[in-house]
């Protein structure tokens, strides 16, 4: 019983970072921008949030955990927004190739994270010495009361506020896309910027807003990982390939943020299942770790076979739009 509870808790913990990333990437891709910089932006969000908390605690003898949380969130949002702004400026305004810019941004973001991670490690006195315990405890505070319920409390109410925010943000994003005028216009921009433009929609504005908002959402995935999952410390490349899993999850979710919620749980479970499956050798563990990607490939095959237009990527994903191009 305890093992199952731990497994579910761990699966959710792994899934939430991916869920933030996937929700952000869906909003971005809906505007026709394929932002492969998301893994890098998640690094940027994570380290900036950590630095926000770190310097707040460094300069205050008696830090308040909620002020620390606020500092971390603000720094994370600003850094991720800058990441998204770089991407949009290069691809929308300068019409650079989205894949190249995205990959460069991921390389940059990872390096940005490791560089500043190393720097504050040094300030803190050595590798693994960073500790923003007060701020992290704010992130890790479970829901008072409800978390005390046996089993249900452990499985459902045991997490920090970012976990619930991830799910709420996904639901809001799904609602915006399906039910609002903004969502309809955004879908149009990603499907056919020409048609959207002719209908009087400001294509550039939608691309900028969607991509930057998406980057901020994804950045919180990095912050979640550093604060709630790791408890306020930094290990170089510690975030691993979760950013790429987030992009794979976009496909699994068929560009619907609501699907990303259960998809992230599945990915989270598959990501750690090797630890919980008895009798695995080192080699077969690595094999099991491939499963999220295998699932993505299978989903890709099934959806392309079924060929339902609603389940395809936005039609002009990855293409830059220029009105005078005829």
């Amino acid at each position: 019983m305890n093992l199952i509870i731990t497994f579910i808790q761990q699966a959710i913990a792994q899934g939430i970072a991916i869920l933030f990333g996937a929700t952000g990437e869906i909003m971005t891709e809906k505007s026709g921008n394929l932002n492969l910089g998301i893994p890098g932006i998640m690094y940027m969000g994570g380290i900036s949030g950590l630095m926000g908390g770190f310097f707040y605690e460094l300069n205050n003898d008696n830090p308040n955990k909620w002020v620390g949380v606020l500092c971390a969130c603000l720094c994370c949002a600003v850094a991720s927004a800058i990441g998204g702004l770089i991407f949009t400026f290069l691809t929308v305004t300068l019409r650079a190739n989205q894949n190249v810019v995205g990959l460069a941004l991921t390389t940059f973001g990872t390096g940005f994270g490791n560089f500043f991670g190393g720097s504050i490690s040094k300030m803190a006195g050595g590798v693994g010495q960073i500790s923003v315990a007060t701020t992290a405890s704010g992130f890790q505070t479970p829901i008072p009361g409800l978390s005390k319920i046996p089993f249900l409390g452990d499985v459902l109410f045991h997490y920090g506020f970012l976990t619930y925010s991830a799910i709420i943000v996904s639901l809001i994003a799904a609602y915006i896309l399906k039910k609002t005028r903004t969502g309809l216009n955004l879908t149009a921009v990603g499907e056919s910027p020409q048609a959207a433009d002719a209908a009087g929609i400001n294509v550039t504005k939608y691309k900028y807003v969607a991509t930057i908002t998406g980057s901020v959402i994804a950045g919180f995935g990095g912050l979640y990982f550093v604060m709630e999952y790791l408890g306020g410390t930094w290990g170089n490349n510690g975030f691993g390939d979760r950013g790429w899993l987030a992009i794979a999850l976009v496909i699994l979710a068929l560009w619907n943020p609501a699907n990303a919620i259960w998809g992230s749980l599945l990915f989270g479970a598959l990501y750690i299942i090797d630890i919980y499956l008895p009798g695995l050798t080192r080699a077969s563990q690595e094999f099991v770790k491939m499963s999220p990607y295998v699932v993505t490939i299978i989903i890709l095959i099934i959806t392309s076979k079924r060929n339902r237009p609603e389940q395809q990527p936005p039609a002009s994903l990855g293409l830059s739009y220029f009105r005078e191009d005829r």
């Binding site: 609002t180 005028r181 903004t182 216009n185 879908t187 149009a188 959207a196 209908a199 009087g200 929609i201």
Partner: protein, 512 residues
């Protein structure tokens, strides 16, 4: 003083693209509550003129009055605000969305979408004018005519009083056309003013109150449809004969090269594009192909080149050694492998003919990339060929490596024709070789075609300018609605004769 009974009045509108004048001093008017046809051959500037009303282009000169007020239309939004709505030939719809979602796209309103009331409003509109449309149907499930309906309703939903339809019947079956006309009449009866751009004479006579005719960018005149006939409109459309000073050597020792027998082809929409077409093209002559655009010219050339599936019929090729080969149902690749030197200069130069982002050598290699030793392609020969083409054809380009899409239309065409004649073709097919070219470039192209003719090449030339075809070609084949309505000797034929053959299908329909 502008007349306030006119929904739209254009005065002296001129639009130039570089050195090409698309509209030259055009003045015409649309009365309130009437259907006005704008008639003209392809390239006569109909669409350009209407795009200035819908805010896509801005006129270089002239004035536009809407309901008697002078206006400036700088964007599609401005046009909507003046209650002008244009239905373009290429629909601007989002496939994965429903009809209703497409219709309200980009409109202001409360964030939360209330599709139910939108649907109701659409149903109201469709009932009023006699459309058939399910607002909740996805666009990708729709036929072309249903998509057109969505476009029309979209414009009406936005409150348009003046509708402009660009070649609305080009993609419709006769039954669908009939239904569209019914709707247009209903709209007219409820006070909307409608402009319909077309080159189909029978439709003009059927639907419109007045006809304005454009020819080569100039306004010819407006007539009451009641007083017009197929003959009088054809005359306005093709105009008086202009004498051109194009060289025409006599064919030397003509031998059949391409023999087409009972060719039948259906286009992508499943409509009959070519119906039982038979003719031959001989060496050392230029065979002109005339017809109102969309009569099957494109399909005919593409069928011979192996780019268009053939439903029925035969295409035979005789090589210079008198061996006969069957090209029926051979792909372009197979024709190449049979070492048949067939060259095709398509209408869509930068789409089908050349790769715009590559320089000249790269574009030469599109034809020769298979040559070379082992896995390496030969890059030197194409570069040399490019230099020769630049020299011989006076191509104006900063360097042979400049992407060809940066060249002017005339130079692009020279690159393409230069490449095609470099392979010393036995059969050369050209579609609209001088479209968009200035006079000088046009004459250079005519000379190139004549040169090929003297070398004994069989040249097939699809053209739209009858004066040119009459002066350049030896024989002219006339297509109407996918059928051959005549093959005439270009030395003796008259423009009126060809004009009548071009519209033969239309007059038959009138009688029926």
């Amino acid at each position: 003083m502008p007349d306030s009974n006119n929904a739209i009045e254009l005065k002296g509108v001129t639009k130039r693209f570089g050195s090409v004048v698309a509209n030259d001093d055009v003045s015409l008017s649309l009365k309130k509550g009437e259907i006005l046809s704008i008639l003209g051959e392809n390239g006569s500037g109909k669409t350009t003129l209407m795009n200035m009303l819908s805010g896509i282009y801005f006129p270089d000169e002239g004035e536009i009055f809407v309901n008697g007020q002078e206006v400036t239309i700088r964007s599609p939004k401005d046009a909507y605000n003046l209650h002008i709505g244009m239905i373009h030939q290429h629909f601007k719809l989002i496939n994965v969305l429903t009809a209703a979602q497409n219709i309200i796209l980009g409109l202001p309103g409360p964030q939360r979408l209330d599709m139910k009331s939108v649907d109701e409003k659409i149903d109201e509109l469709t009932k009023k004018y006699g459309f058939e449309l399910d607002p909740e149907e996805k666009i990708y499930n729709m036929s072309v005519s249903q998509k057109q309906t969505v476009e029309i309703v979209k414009v009406l939903y936005r409150g348009a009083d003046i509708l402009i339809l660009d070649e609305p019947t080009a993609v419709l079956t006769p039954q669908e056309t009939e239904r569209l006309f019914e709707v247009l009449r209903n709209m007219k009866n409820s006070g909307k003013s409608i402009i319909i751009i077309t080159h189909k004479l029978n439709e003009v006579l059927e639907i419109s109150d007045r006809v304005a005719v454009l020819r080569k960018g100039c306004y010819v005149g407006t007539v009451e449809t009641k007083r017009a006939s197929v003959e009088s409109l054809t005359e306005m459309m093709v105009g008086q004969k202009v004498t051109l000073n194009i060289d025409r050597p006599d064919p030397v020792n003509p031998k059949p090269r391409i023999l087409v027998k009972n060719l039948t082809v259906r286009n992508r929409e499943g409509l009959l594009a070519l119906d039982n077409v038979s003719f031959d093209a001989k060496s050392g002559e230029i065979l002109g192909i005339a017809g109102i655009s969309g009569s099957g010219q494109k399909e005919l050339l593409e069928a011979i080149a192996g780019l268009q599936p053939i439903e029925d019929g035969q295409i035979l090729y005789t090589d210079p050694k008198d061996n006969i080969e069957d090209l029926t149902k051979k792909s372009a690749q197979e024709i190449y492998q049979m070492q048949i030197r067939l060259s095709f200069v398509p209408e869509d130069r930068l789409g089908m003919g050349l790769v715009g982002s590559m320089g000249m050598p790269g574009n030469m290699m599109v034809r020769s990339y298979r040559n070379g030793k082992g896995p390496m392609t030969d890059r030197k020969t194409p570069a040399d060929l490019s230099k020769r083409i630049v020299e011989r054809l006076d191509v104006v380009t900063p360097s042979i490596d400049t992407p060809v899409r940066n060249l002017s239309g005339g130079n692009v065409q020279k690159v393409l024709v230069g490449r095609e004649i470099a392979s010393s073709p036995v059969v050369l097919m050209v579609a609209y070789p001088v479209r968009g070219l200035d006079i000088n470039s046009s004459y250079q192209i005519y000379e190139l075609l004549n040169e090929q003719k003297k070398k004994g090449t069989a040249v097939l030339c699809v053209g739209e300018d009858l004066d040119v075809l009459l002066a350049l070609c030896d024989r002219i084949l006339v297509l109407a609605d996918g059928k051959v309505t005549g093959i005439v000797d270009a030395r003796t034929a008259t423009k009126e004769q060809i004009g009548q053959l071009m519209t033969a299908g239309a007059s038959k329909k009138q009688e029926a």
